[in-house]
Amino acid sequence: MPQDYSYFPGCSLQGTGVAYDESVRALFALLDLKLHELPEWNCCGATSYMSIDEGSAFVLSARNLSLAGQAKHGDLVTPCSACFLVLKKTQDYVEHYPAIATKVQQGLQAEGLPPLNGVQVRHPLEILYNDVGLDRIKQASVRPWRGAPVACYYGCQLVRPYCDSDEQQNPTHMEEVLKAAGIPTVEYALKTKCCGGSLTGTIPAVGQRLNYIILKEAIRKGAGAIVTVCPLCQYNLDAYQADIRKSTGEAIDIPVLYFSQALGWAMGADPKALGMQRSIAGKKTIKQWFAASEREEKAHV
């Protein structure tokens, strides 16, 4: 019987992170996990809304938690690190501050929604690690990885401060899951360093510098690709490589994948279904992977 989850994609996964949405859905379908998208979900508020108005920020994100409680499809899955953090933070603050709990309660009531019932907020990576398990991932992985090892980049908001299953300073779930799927990884000390979030848009010189450091270190460690868990990290690291090449004069061109794309690829999914054609940087490397696996698959038949 397939396992059921509520699904909250978030706004980024409809825009710059559309490949994340595609690949998570494809990966979950491959593993016989069923995602039920929340009807009429709204923006979680991310970091910006909270910077202007706290009271309604908690009501805004609590609305999604309430919808998930109402949907009764089990745990709430969200692939976006910002959504994950904001939903967890809302639960934390509602639990610890009676004044915020009352405000949220009133806000939900005005919307005709049920009160919060402690629905579990979870990230797909953690579901793969704990619910699916490394053994099943190993069994499901049929396509050998022919590229160079990858650097696992977690960014900030998934692991800090509300990560309940992995280590905050040195998380390892992504490495373990990818290794189980036959994808080698490199030691990568910058795995939880911040990419700067929206700074690439507001103060490009600063935002791009942070991303340059993260990219450069991955290349220095011999990584052939960077694998991420966050739509904003992926966007920053992927879309600004041309600008970074121009400002630094260095030959930086490395594919930046979502962990769901790397795993889906290992499990033999069609790269188009995983949104891999939407990558901006490292196109040459990605094409080489495609060509190598096509040759192998032909040789098998």
Binding site: C43, D53, L85
Partner: protein, 190 residues
């Protein structure tokens, strides 16, 4: 680069200019309770990926805030450069939720119009807030466009390359989505 000495700008703060009552109010806010427990150890500034770009590092912001130097704190770029990576908050040996303190200060800076003018980060936050209140969901394209128009429209020309790449790969959503029923959100702080 040699540091330019500017004698007209006094850098020493006098205690009598501080407003301890304001500091107390800050510390009463959810998440800011442990403000006065700061050791000034500097773990926050050491771990902050953006401290080198800040006018004051997080340690100095906490130090200034708990003494009540309201104007310096609210006028700083520091609070806006904070990208909410929570590195300081998890490293703080005194368990001060520094990121939440920063959020609290940002909100007050917006309320009191004390942020640096035409500074892109608070403008982006405001435009994000407006779009979400109107549509229930955000639109990356609309928020960035409105931020650029309010700060420096010329910045749009520097974005052409990544914009074109996004468009080519089907990742730029030009039309913003609006929920059938946009949640009613009572304005609290703003």
């Amino acid at each position: 680069m040699a540091t330019k000495l500017n004698f007209s700008e006094r850098t020493i703060k006098f205690q009598r200019e501080a407003d301890p009552e304001w500091a107390r109010q800050v510390s009463e806010h959810p998440g800011c309770e442990r403000l006065f427990s700061c050791l000034q150890c500097g773990s926050c500034t050491g771990t902050c990926p953006l401290s080198i770009y800040m006018d004051y590092g997080p340690r100095r912001i906490i130090g200034l805030a708990r003494e009540g130097f309201r104007k310096e704190v609210l006028n700083s770029q520091t609070i806006w450069l904070c990208a909410s990576c929570y590195s300081c908050a998890v490293h703080c040996p005194q368990e001060i939720h520094i990121t939440d303190v920063m959020y609290n200060l940002k909100r007050e800076a917006v309320r009191s119009h004390l942020y640096p003018k035409r500074f892109a980060i608070p403008v982006l936050a405001q435009e994000f807030y407006n779009v979400v209140r109107r549509n229930g969901r955000t639109s990356e394209f609309l928020v960035v466009l409105r931020m650029a128009l309010r700060t420096n429209p010329l910045v749009l020309f520097t974005m052409w390359r990544s914009g074109l790449d996004l468009l080519r790969t089907g990742r730029l959503k030009l039309l913003s989505e609006k929920l059938k029923h946009v949640p009613f959100l009572p304005k609290e702080d703003a």
